[in-house]
């Protein structure tokens, strides 16, 4: 039984960053290729090349963004609530979302101009050969219409990238946003 109560505390504590201790060192061939892939992905999304982005996704993809909750006292660090999410998607529903973006999705028509900054990338080997845990920081600047102020969002992303046919493909992504109340007026963009 899942305990859905808002007041409940996830006893297991909060998973952040990397789980595996088998680190892939910064500057190594694998690290460089994965970092390059993250940059390519950010460019595909910023340039709205959604077909290119979907081609980087595995069909068993899970793509989620849990909500955060301000907590205090002994539970002050257990603030990731995985019962509720801002995104709860899989490969099929991502296709539904990108398909919609090519038709009458007024939320992105006219589109936002976005800039995704990916930093603090850490990589570790998963137990399955060819799979890598990748934790990165994401900062998004989003310009809407002729509004002079950008909407912004900062988050940590906990990914699993899998080497398939000579390229890394995204199999898992958990986006841990920093705000408990988002200042971004919708998530019609991918993170």
């Amino acid at each position: 039984m899942v305990n859905y109560a808002t007041a409940a505390v996830e006893k297991a504590g909060v998973m952040r960053g990397l789980v595996s201790t088998n680190r892939v060192p910064l500057g190594s061939e694998i690290y460089n290729r994965i970092l390059e892939t993250l940059y390519d992905e950010a460019a595909a999304l910023d340039e709205r090349r959604f077909d290119d982005w979907v081609a980087m996704l595995e069909e068993d993809l899970l793509y989620t963004a849990p909500v955060r909750l301000t907590r205090n006292g002994p539970n002050k660090d257990r603030d990731v609530m995985r019962t509720m999410m801002h995104f709860d998607d899989n490969y099929q529903s991502i296709l539904m979302r990108t398909g919609r973006l090519s038709k009458s999705a007024w939320a992105e028509d006219p589109p936002s101009r976005t800039r995704r900054f990916v930093t603090n990338t850490r990589v570790a080997e998963c137990e399955t050969a060819g799979e890598y845990e990748v934790s990165s920081y994401l900062y998004v600047e989003r310009s809407r219409f002729d509004v002079a102020h950008n909407e912004t969002l900062s988050a940590e992303r906990r990914d699993i990238w899998r080497m398939v046919g000579g390229a890394y493909k995204l199999a898992r992504r958990e986006i841990i946003v920093d705000q408990s109340t988002l200042g971004m007026s919708n998530l019609a963009i991918f993170l």
Partner: protein, 462 residues
Amino acid sequence: MLQKATFTLSDGATLDDLVKRDTNEVMLRVMSDEELYKLEMERIFAKTWLLLAHDTEIPKAGDFVVRDMGEDQVIVTRDRNDEIHVSLNVCPHRGMKVCTAEAGNAHAHRCIYHGWAFRPDGSFIGAPVEKEQMHGNRMSKDQLGLKKARVQVYGGLIFATWDIEGPSFDEYLGDMKYYLDQLFCRTDSGLEMLGPPQRFVLPCNWKIPGEQSGSDGFHTLTLHRSLMEGGIMGGTAESIYDNAPGMYGVDVSCEQGHSLRCLEAAQTFKMFSDMSFEGKSVEERLSMLPPPGITKELIPQLFKNLSPDQVEQLATIPPQVGGLFPNILVAFIFAPRTDGGSSGALALHTYVPRGPDKVEFVNFIFAEKDAPEQVKRDMLQNSIQQTGTSGIIEQDDADTWPQIMRNARGVVSKDITLKYQALHGHERPEGWKGGGLLYPGFTKDDTQWNWWMAYYNLMAEA
């Protein structure tokens, strides 16, 4: 007696200038006026019943969540006697927040500033250094509790009001209770909230989403066109305006400003399946197309908890979307999945004012408590994919409302009026069992105009 006690803004505008009852128009400036906003906080948000939480969010003694009544923050708690309390999150000592977390469990809330402490029911325990009596000697401990709101739990939903002697909750719901029971009071264990609400802030006045929640069905055809393109609502992109899917039904409303759109199950069924409803009994129809959130196993509970007339309505023309005045949206939607399932999506929103030009969108997502875990999982996913932060339906709303807001500030634009002149007029369909104001046929402006009349009536009361 058209004249009521009312107000005049500093530029001379009166409530009757802003909400034009004779022509069914509302001036766009109501969306940006700061003076009006302050009056709304006093006359609406400090007066009427407001939705704050669900009792499944705080199942254990001492559990609490922090929520907002207008711009006043409150702590919603459960005490040892299983009673729910709503207390102002303001320390009566120096005005600090007594509770700095958004949720948790505490048998005493101790202010971090000077240490005044309060029980979950809001009563004052004491200040530190008891022998020095740091709460003074002029007021007794009984007088130093947190300010308490009046609470009502309905279908697990926790409502509160500052109007201690005002209208009862039943008076607030009025004729809508008959319909709302079909959504919130239909099973033995009721609904369960599937986690904390999604929260995000939009740069627009609370009334822009508020008036839409007064059952604006018509916008779906155009703003949510992608639902038709994606086949989710039936029809094709080319035939949207000819077929007008989801537009015909019975809109129900009342003078309190609440409303719900009831849509024919047979029509909904046709969108998803080739089978026909014709000649089928209530039980058969319920089992062919259970209302959103209801599994076949839960159908007998509908007969137990609702009247035969209410069950028949659920099987024939169930209430699906609408809102409660002033700031609640209700969405009980059929949501067919690509894998053939259709467990539906159940979501409520509150639109919490954050100043004249900001609103917080709070999205509460539910399933039936007794539904299997897999159904809850499906419904959570459906609700997240369709509503709220990333929902493909409400992304479009969230992008539209701020642009109305921008217009509401223009010195010329603000005098443009919003038109609610496509009216049907109350008409009771033959054999209709429920009460209220009824608008059969194509969804029009009647229910939204009733929302504005509820607004008018509250704003006219000093």
